[in-house]
């Protein structure tokens, strides 16, 4: 099942920065965008209400009532802060600055216990002040701020105590950084429960998230406990606590997925992923919200990318007594469940992510990124997309997009003459997978034909389908006729790009048209270099190539302008 060869997907999972980019994108969509949209809407609404108040259409009381309804703490503009309040604020700031300066200049002279005592005192003082001010409904903001500051001061006290007693940061020791963070985060959870401050919840979530990076992950003895601490905290503590606050759950879901992306080469990694997938699925079944299914699918994709990098499976084979076959069966069951749920919920996002995960799994299962099998897989996926034609539009499109991408990758790499390997050189299982896939394709084709699923698009797609299948068959059965194979592959790729261009033009679909042009250019440039580099004089090589591309570009640009005009005309 395993080869030492690395293929494109193994590099993909090594690109750690991709996870960071995914993280940022997810962070933007989950947190920033909703806030911006919500804030924008509320600001517009408040401006309207304010203008109504100024025109005396509504009274001050009604204005405040509306603001309260939308949880906006708004003051009537003529009720500004009194000079006394300003004095109090300045007084607080001056006291704080004075305290910091005093500490900075005398810190070394103060004994350790007094240092800790000072912070303990400050923590309790801030918490008490926050609590007493919370009784006055006009001082909610300042009381909330003080309570939040007290939770930070508690952390400072704990970390200072750790520093004072030189507590080891070596995660082999029970009392190390992770336990300090766990104590800190755990101690502020009651503050959230009692005062319901979202800021405290987010602080605790962040601390738990950071905590896991300090966990002693790398040892076998800790395997049974450590990897599961963070998912257990999120699913059993943070999720139930955030009842009715989707943003809080979203934040922790993203954090969980990020943690899954960052933890690598650890013995418990595979089980950690399964726990996270299962956790999200339980919440999906319980709350019936699509987002949990999507989170579960994303976790499965990451799991798949990590697990099925070529070479990585050797690492898991026999780990904790698990045979490779069992790991593959578990993975297949995971994907089966996710696909069933995506269909039941009719979640196209989940299906799209599942497909990416499944393809990674498939590639690992067939042992390598076999270009001939992936060509047949693309034909198979196309037929599956036809099967969905009248069922749900997006489902059909998802299968088709994956089919196109797979066909493009397979044909492009096959078009290099030296990539054609004789079939005998493939592994023994190759023909088994090949016949199974071919059988599935034929069955689906016959089924689609019988059910009259092929529509008008098929006039471009069916010839392509037949050409691809024939190319694939020639590669397997006629591999000795190399020239024939080269012609067939190049013809397939050329037909693929040209049919996209024509179909895009006919349907006035600029995206498809441009995509086709892109493939066409790639094809021409690659093949030109491939076949003429060694045959022609260098200057002649570039001149002829350049001229050909210019002429092609001129022709295609004319067609594109016509297409845009047509599109405008249609509108």
């Amino acid at each position: 099942m395993i080869t030492g060869e690395r293929h494109i997907f193994s590099y993909l999972s090594n690109l750690w920065f991709i996870w960071i980019i995914i993280g940022f994108i997810a962070f933007y969509f989950v947190f920033i965008r909703p806030i911006l949209i919500k804030r924008g809407r509320i600001n517009w609404f408040l401006k309207e209400v304010e203008s109504l108040r100024k025109r005396e259409i509504i009274s001050d009381e009604q204005f405040l009532e509306i603001c309260n309804l939308y949880l906006v703490k708004k003051r009537i503009s003529d009720k500004r802060r009194t000079p006394i309040q300003v004095m109090q604020i300045i007084g607080c700031i001056l006291m704080g600055v004075g305290f910091i300066l005093f500490m900075a200049s005398n810190w070394g002279k103060i004994s350790d216990l007094i240092q800790i005592g000072l912070f303990v005192f400050l923590t309790f003082l801030t918490l008490s002040a926050g609590y007493y001010l919370s009784k006055d409904s006009n001082k909610t903001f300042i009381s909330n701020s003080l309570i939040f500051i007290s939770t930070i001061l508690l952390g400072v006290t704990i970390l200072l105590t750790g520093q004072t007693y030189h507590i080891s940061m070596d995660s082999n020791w029970i009392l190390s950084n992770w336990i300090l963070l766990l104590i800190w985060a755990g101690s502020i959870i009651p503050v959230y429960i009692i005062f319901r401050l979202n800021t405290v919840y987010y602080l605790a979530s962040l601390l738990f998230f950071i905590m896991q990076f300090y966990l002693p992950f790398y040892t076998h003895a800790n395997f049974l406990l450590c990897p599961f601490i963070y998912p257990a905290i999120v699913f059993l503590l943070l999720f139930p606590l955030s009842k009715g606050a989707p943003a809080e759950k979203n934040a922790n879901s993203v954090a969980l997925i990020l943690s899954l992306a960052f933890f690598r080469y650890t013995p418990g990694e595979i089980f950690l992923a399964l726990i996270i997938i299962a956790g999200f699925l339980v919440y999906f079944l319980y709350e019936k919200k699509e987002k949990y299914l999507i989170f579960s699918s994303i976790s499965a994709l990451l799991f798949s990318l990590k697990l099925f990098r070529i070479g990585n499976l050797i690492y898991y084979d026999g780990l904790f007594g698990f045979k490779l076959e069992i790991i593959l069966i578990i993975s297949a069951i995971v994907f089966l469940i996710l696909f069933i749920l995506a269909y039941r919920k009719k979640s196209s996002t989940s299906l799209a992510v599942n497909m990416a995960g499944f393809l990674t799994f498939f590639i690992a299962f067939i042992n390598n990124f076999n270009l001939i099998l992936s060509l047949f897989l693309s034909v198979f996926l196309y037929l599956v997309s036809i099967l969905h034609r009248n069922w749900k539009e997006y489902f059909s499109k998802i299968y088709k997009v994956y089919s196109f991408i797979l066909a493009l990758i397979s044909l492009y790499f096959l078009s290099f003459a030296n990539s054609m390997v004789e079939v005998e050189k493939f592994e023994a299982n190759f023909l088994v997978y090949f016949y199974v896939l071919l059988g599935c394709c034929l069955f689906l084709f016959a089924f689609n034909l019988a059910k009259k699923k092929f529509s008008k698009e098929a006039k471009y797609e069916i010839p392509l389908l037949i050409l691809f299948t024939f190319t694939g068959l020639a590669l397997v059965y006629l591999f000795k006729f190399k020239l024939l194979n080269v012609i067939l592959i190049n013809l397939s790729l050329l037909s693929f790009s040209l049919s996209l261009i024509f179909y895009g033009y006919e349907e006035t679909n600029l995206l498809l048209y441009n995509f086709g042009v892109g493939i066409f250019t790639l094809f021409i440039v690659t093949q030109y270099f491939n076949y003429f580099w060694s045959m022609l004089n260098r200057s002649l090589f570039f001149m002829i190539g350049g001229l050909f591309l210019l002429l092609c570009g001129f022709f295609l640009e004319r067609k594109r302008s016509l297409l845009i005009k047509r599109k405008k005309g249609e509108q």
């Binding site: 918490l127 750790g162 520093q163 080891s168 940061m169 070596d170 503050v191 076998h220 003895a221």
Partner: protein
């Protein structure tokens, strides 16, 4: 639960956490026996807690051939992740390893037992950590101590009757009394 009860609950919880935390550390420092260990500094930085010196002690690496493995424990039974107790005996200024066991034996003949965890085993040699490998210093001071790399430092450690240890002082060699 109303806010008043909740507030007092938080106060009690926080006070208990801080108290237990300080008590456990102070217990070792106040009740423990004093030993002096030879060490060498390396200077990394803890993102959470500022400058610290990483200390590599002579007793971090133990050759099982040079210490007595107290029965019923056998040399081959020692595995990574095991909690062990190293018997230390004074040899000149410093303490050196004498014996090794899995349970804490009673202190006798001046032998002090320190609790450690096996992190690595290669043949007869084991790497052990004791939780005293970090020494936190004021900001920037780490660089000053780092100058002693290769020259060696001495650390005064308190070891309580359960084998738990805590650093009480760090001596730059020339300043050692």
């Amino acid at each position: 639960m109303n806010n008043k009860k909740g507030f007092w609950l938080i106060i009690i919880l926080w006070a208990m956490i801080i108290f237990i935390f300080i008590f456990l550390n102070e217990y070792t420092l106040r009740q423990g026996k004093t030993i002096l260990l030879k060490t060498e500094p390396i200077d990394p930085r803890d993102l959470l807690r500022g400058d610290y010196v990483f200390l590599q002690y002579e007793i971090n690496t133990i050759d099982l051939k040079t210490v007595e493995v107290i029965s019923p424990l056998k040399e081959e039974d020692i595995e990574e992740e095991d909690i062990i107790y190293i018997g230390l005996i004074r040899d000149g200024e410093f303490y050196k390893p004498l014996s090794l066991s899995k349970a804490v034996p009673e202190t006798k003949n001046g032998v002090i037992y320190i609790r450690g965890k096996v992190v690595w085993k290669t043949g007869n040699v084991i790497d052990v950590t004791y939780g005293i490998e970090n020494y936190y210093v004021p900001e920037g001071k780490g660089r000053e101590i780092e100058k002693f790399v290769g020259k060696g430092l001495s650390v005064e450690v308190k070891v309580d009757k359960y084998g738990f240890s805590k650093i009480s002082k760090l001596y730059l060699e020339e300043k050692y009394p």
